[in-house]
Symmetry: C2
Subunit: 145 residues, 2 copies
């Protein structure tokens, strides 16, 4: 029921809070966690329209480097608890990528923070997690701020 | 993190599926469950407009009687697992009642089925559980059909 957990994270405070719930699910049979970070395509596009190609390439590399560092911290924390861990970093539209990965991984449950870093957009358009709840066929645990 | 669980149920199939997740959370520290059933005010109002007062009173009593019987089954199932259980039957608008009870009980987590019995209305207006996710300040585990 909680064997295989999909944990999408943008490394925000509420995602870090959600991670505590993932860890606790170990006791309810949690065995495997896929940690997913989506590099938001729309942020990259915004960035590219405001910078030279050279700047853009170096900023994009910096973003990828930081994502790798941050996801490694999460992965280690989970491995230390005895979880089997997969990590995935993908570029795209967060909602679409989360649903695609959920389709591929077929998790028992998705654990997700209620709001991402792009707060204003989410206030206007609804949060990614709300849409995951609506569209996913898997159980979703939404952790609030 | 999962100590105190609020479990709103309309006794539908998906609520019964959600109950299995509640039970499994015992192992992750679940101790206490409040089982909440809301008798939907709008159904009662619809009913009252199509029936005589005498019919309405007897149908309402029948609904209350069945609710008591059904909630007792859920309560027993949870008690047998060693949960401390509270039961609450309330009349009102499901979303509002769930949020009100969540405020009063301050649960660690709300476990809820993704869709209630009133499927068509939910398709048009969004499900109660989606709105609970949006409006509650507590973590919500949404179990899908």
């Amino acid at each position: 029921m909680f064997e295989k957990i999909l944990f999408p994270t943008d490394f925000s405070d509420v995602a870090t809070k959600a991670l505590q719930y993932v860890k606790r699910l170990k006791e309810a049979g949690g065995e495997e966690v896929t940690v997913l970070h989506v590099i938001d395509q729309s942020n990259l596009e915004l960035l590219s329209s405001y910078s030279t190609i050279q700047d853009f390439i170096s900023i994009e590399k910096e973003i990828e480097k930081r994502s790798l560092e941050e996801i490694a911290l999460v992965v280690n924390e989970l491995k230390q608890l005895g979880f089997k861990v997969k990590e995935r970093i993908e570029k795209g539209v967060p909602l679409r990528v989360v649903l695609k990965v959920a389709d591929e991984e077929n998790p028992s449950v998705i654990v997700v923070g209620s709001h991402g870093k792009s707060n204003l957009e989410e206030l206007l358009l609804g949060s990614v997690s709300e849409k995951v709840v609506r569209k996913s066929k898997h159980p979703v645990l939404v952790v609030k701020r």
